[in-house]
Point group: C2
């Protein structure tokens, strides 16, 4: 099977144009078949604020009412996605920006109202990913750039977590490609103390993760990302790592980040 | 050569969700290879207003400063494009939403500053259209849905007139397909008196157009659309018509609209 690099870039990088462009230049240089999935960043929150729409967060997740969804679609699928695509084109990378509605790639299900109503948020099962458009594009040397907007197949767009999307895409595509999954963010990897680079874990086994978790040695913000990374690993993806966005191309051992085993 | 339907839907239809969905249902039903190009509508102006960004119009064209461009990209490439795509998916039409930056389809040139600075507005030459992504998609039965955002190839997105885009795309694709070009809008066709449906011109020859123009019998708003339609016709596209969005599928002779000859 051919190797396919699937890279996630977080919102933090997207907010800083210079840092984003440096990352995109590296991504453009990366050889072989590849897909980029991007998060949101602050622009959606800023735009909502300027429009007088209050941002409601519950457990670190945005509650997406109709007005907030509209802004998420505008910012993620519109401004951020096309800004990334045009910059990649400038770096001679033939990018094609997509949402989950395009080519019906990602059909999601509006989250059911439990103790909390998250609003227009879509949950994704990897069985509901249609890989045809992606493989058609990849096999013709295009580079899909995917935002975290999905749809329910009945005309409703839904907001979805970008870490979840990249994970489900990686699982769905692992039948056809030898997937190399990289979550890029603003830290060197998973650290016991997020402020101390030397506490980085180079290889993280699931049993160790569970122990760190029970000892509360993993910061809350890292848990959803790690849950996703382990899910990918458990579905048979051999190369899963969490690393600094600036280390995408680095072959220095200390820059590999945290490998998920 | 195979027939390719290229349809433009104007901003007016987009503002009314019910009318838009009725049009999209018709478009989804249309058999064979097809492309949809959409305009903008009022949402960009409304959003700019709410954000306190003044809209500057000169000769019926928006002057696009950086803040206005950002909104245009958010609204056209984001909200409107993805709303149309997800609705078409609901009608079993496998739509893929694209801007001119995606797959480098439409490389434009920032309009030079003459007596007026239009800002981030891109002019398009049909020679700078890369049809590869579109033909790759069409030949796999996807339906491209294209917004009027282009790029200069150096990382700058640019705002472009949707009638111009559809025309240049039709010309660029006419080498490979037998193009059927339809400009859909909110009137039955080109009328001598825009308020009187019975004054509609069924077949408009270029010589008659020039005469109507010199007699000031063509309303100002129709001139750019007609200039585009005649350009397409002069480049050899045989089926060019301007018709009501509700008459896309009608085979009644009175609903054909104005044919450009």
């Amino acid at each position: 099977m051919e190797t396919l690099h699937i890279i996630k870039i977080g919102g933090n990088r997207i907010d800083d144009k210079q840092k984003l462009n440096r990352f995109l230049k590296d991504f453009a240089t990366l050889k072989g078949k590849k897909i980029l999935v991007h998060g949101g960043g602050k622009l959606a929150t800023d735009t909502a604020e300027k429009l007088g729409i209050p941002t409601k967060m519950v457990n670190g997740r945005r509650v997406t009412d109709e007005a907030t969804l509209k802004i998420a679609v505008m910012v993620y699928a519109g401004y951020i996605n096309k800004t990334i695509v045009s910059q990649l084109q400038a770096y001679d990378c033939n990018a094609v920006g997509l949402s989950g509605a395009d080519g019906n790639i990602i059909k999601s299900k509006k989250r059911e109202i439990g103790t909390l109503d998250f609003g227009f948020v879509g949950d994704v099962d990897h069985a509901n990913i249609q890989t045809e458009l992606l493989t058609d594009l990849i096999d013709k040397s295009y580079v899909p750039v995917i935002c975290a907007i999905t749809h329910n197949g009945e005309g409703q767009l839904l907001n979805t977590n970008a870490d979840t999307i990249v994970t489900k895409l990686a699982i769905a595509l692992s039948g056809k490609y030898n997937v190399n999954l990289t979550y890029c963010f603003e830290k060197k990897g998973v650290m016991i103390d997020m402020k101390d680079d030397s506490s980085m874990i180079q290889k993280l086994h699931h049993s160790d993760y569970l122990q760190h978790l029970s000892n509360r040695k993993i910061s809350d913000g890292m848990i959803p990302k790690l849950e996703n990374a382990f899910e990918a690993s458990q579905f048979g993806i051999k190369n899963v790592r969490i690393c600094h966005a600036e280390h995408l191309l680095s072959d220095k051992p200390e820059n590999i980040g945290t490998q998920i085993l």
